[in-house]
Amino acid sequence: MVMRRTETHGVPLTTETMFPESSDALDRVSDYAIETHRLTKRFSSFTAVDHIDLSVRKGEIYGFLGPNGAGKTTAIRMFCTLLTPSSGSAKVAGYDIAHEADEVRKRIGLVSEKLIMYPRLTAFENLMFFGSLYEIDQNSLRKRTHELLDMVQLTPFKDRVVGGYSSGMRQRLNVIRALLHDPEIIFLDEPTTALDPQSTRFVRDLVKELKEMGHTIVLTTHIMEEADELSDRISIIDHGKIIATERPQELKNKYKSDNLLEVFLTLTGRELRDSASDRIPMRRVMGRM
């Protein structure tokens, strides 16, 4: 049996003690946390994800970048078993997303751009509720909830309803909700959007710490500086296809720029997405009233 012991701010955890693996666990040993084969998702005539082949290594931070509507969120929702692929396949944590969804769900944590919290419940009630959906005994869950709240410095506010939280507090809470069951793979969908610099720093440091503890992290962000700082490797997706996968420094070397934003714009183009073809200069619009 493959054991992976982690310690999150003094919280000892083993995935295996929570979800004892089946005898075929050894067969599933792979260097990759996520592997896809021609994974595709179509919505009517629109192809959001178009035959992508990607692999995310265990323990790495995988930056998944792309313009709006490129297919990032659709792909992540497929990895999280929230969407069924139209064709192709994917394995997450060694399990097929279409046929072994429950096994996948036990091993992943999702921090989506929307806050997954009930606004009328307190932080503690929310965490206890979501934690109780995993097979964790009540005492361990309670202990872990307290420790995670401590970790993100929210213990003094644990009995306040989440609706009254600031966006920084909410996002810290959103992150620890995804960690309650100590998932192997954590999906972070734009985790620092609309956060103040302090909260942004806090979340980024948390992501680094999670990687140090052996978690695999898939990160989507529009903040190139964040992707550059955190990612071990970056994939850029556009029009549903992966157009580049490299280490951030290699990407910058290849496109002869020290700025990841420039590399991104070179690869995906400078035009606005979903807009008219001609740009009207601002001078023509402003200052005429």
Partner: protein, 403 residues
């Protein structure tokens, strides 16, 4: 933990959370409790208690007391005076009308237009002369036709009062003509009817409506509640938190159904409790069968609610879809209005809706103390609906959530 037990335990947790959410939303909770009270009070007073009239003992109960009417007496003869006085006396004694005497028909008509009175009784010239000559005399009646319900009441009550007055004139005339040799009421009305009530004790119209409203409340709650709850959770993102965890989709549905059932039952028992306290509704049947019928009513509808709203992109659309179904159901299920006046195809739509059977069974239990042998068919139909719709709802829900 065995998978079915775990599904049930997760469903309980989801239901508990939903109810805690309702408890925390004080304004929502207030409206939630107020809604059945308003519904019950409105319908309770709209369909008030009206025991049957007993003209023999001069008893003419009314649901709409002291309606203002004008009396225009154009004939000043002695018999006209006597009839006018008798009309005013009966109207006041039975609290049917508040009668004001007006000099001309035109003035009285203007009062109807101004909305100060609801009817006019005119005793025309020649009234005394006609009766004195042994001929039929006529009284003219005009009602405010802009309010059809009150117009019908005024018309029928005026007719009843003049029926009593006519009888007394006939009785006096016949007694004068024939002495006591024959009973005048035999000549006037050789056959009379007397009603034997279906249920003993004083009955009210609301007694018959309350069970239907209970069914309506529970079923509407189930239909809209589950759909709204699902679409709201999708919109706010919390549905992802549920679906990304290793729980069955059945647990999510069952949890939502449980919380909506508790909510529906709370509202239904509020309606029942207040109907009993304020409108004197009595339960003649088994409370166990009542709860069972309501639970089956809920079960028969949640599946429909889930199927209809699972594909709605947002809560507003889900609401519109549910309202689209609620309206015909309310009017075609025979709860407020009888369906017999509707065209055949409309009656079939009403009978195709499980609410029809839930209301029918509940009415029979509450009013007639009906047992399983009587309401068995209703319950079987509800069970069939529940099985079919819930079996379809689980895969539809799963498909809609991951499409």
């Amino acid at each position: 933990m065995p998978s079915e037990l775990r599904t049930f335990s997760i469903a309980l947790k989801i239901a508990r959370r939903d109810l805690l959410d309702l408890w925390r939303a004080k304004m929502l909770l207030f409206s939630f409790l107020l809604m059945p009270l308003l519904l019950m009070a409105m319908f309770g007073y709209m369909f008030p208690t009206t025991p049957k009239a007993n003209l023999a003992v001069g008893n003419m109960p009314t649901a709409y007391p002291n309606i203002p009417v004008a009396l225009v007496q154009m004939d000043r003869g002695s018999l006209a005076n006597a009839v006018a006085n008798q009309f005013v006396d009966i109207a006041q004694a039975q609290q049917l009308f508040r009668v004001s005497e007006v000099t001309s028909y035109q003035t009285a008509r203007d009062s109807i237009i101004w909305g100060t009175i609801s009817g006019i009784v005119v005793i025309p010239d020649g009234f005394t002369a006609a009766i004195s000559a042994g001929m039929q005399a006529t009284v003219q009646v005009t009602v405010d036709e802009t309010n059809p319900q009150i117009a019908a009441v005024v018309e029928s009550e005026i007719a009843t009062v003049f029926g009593v007055i006519s009888s007394s004139i006939s009785t006096t005339t016949m007694t004068n003509m024939m002495g006591n040799s024959i009973n005048p009421s035999f000549l006037l009305e050789p056959v009379s009817i007397t009603q034997v009530p279906l249920i003993s004790g004083p009955s009210t119209t609301f007694q018959f409506l309350a069970p239907g409203f209970m069914a309506l409340t529970v079923v509407f709650g189930a239909l809209s509640g589950v759909g709204f709850a699902i679409s709201r959770e999708r919109e706010q993102g919390t549905m992802d938190g549920l679906l990304v965890s290793p729980i069955t989709r059945r647990a999510v549905i069952f949890g939502k159904v449980l919380s909506q059932t508790v909510r529906g039952l709370i509202q239904a028992f509020l309606i029942l409790g207040l109907s009993m306290l304020i409108f004197g509704v009595r339960i003649y049947g088994s409370p166990f069968l009542m709860v069972l019928t309501m639970l089956l009513g809920v079960a028969s509808f949640v599946g429909v609610g889930i199927i209809l709203t699972a594909f709605a992109p947002e809560q507003e659309t889900a609401q519109m879809i549910v309202i689209l179904l609620q309206f015909p159901m309310m009017f075609l299920s025979g709860i407020i209005f009888p369906v017999t006046s509707l065209p055949g195809w409309m009656q079939w739509i009403g009978k195709a809706m499980p609410l029809y059977y839930a209301a029918d069974a509940l009415r029979k239990i509450v009013i007639l103390n009906a047992g399983l042998n009587v309401i068995g068919m209703d319950l079987m139909i509800l069970i069939a609906y529940a099985l079919i719709t819930l079996t379809a709802a689980v895969p539809v829900f799963e498909k809609a959530m991951t499409r």
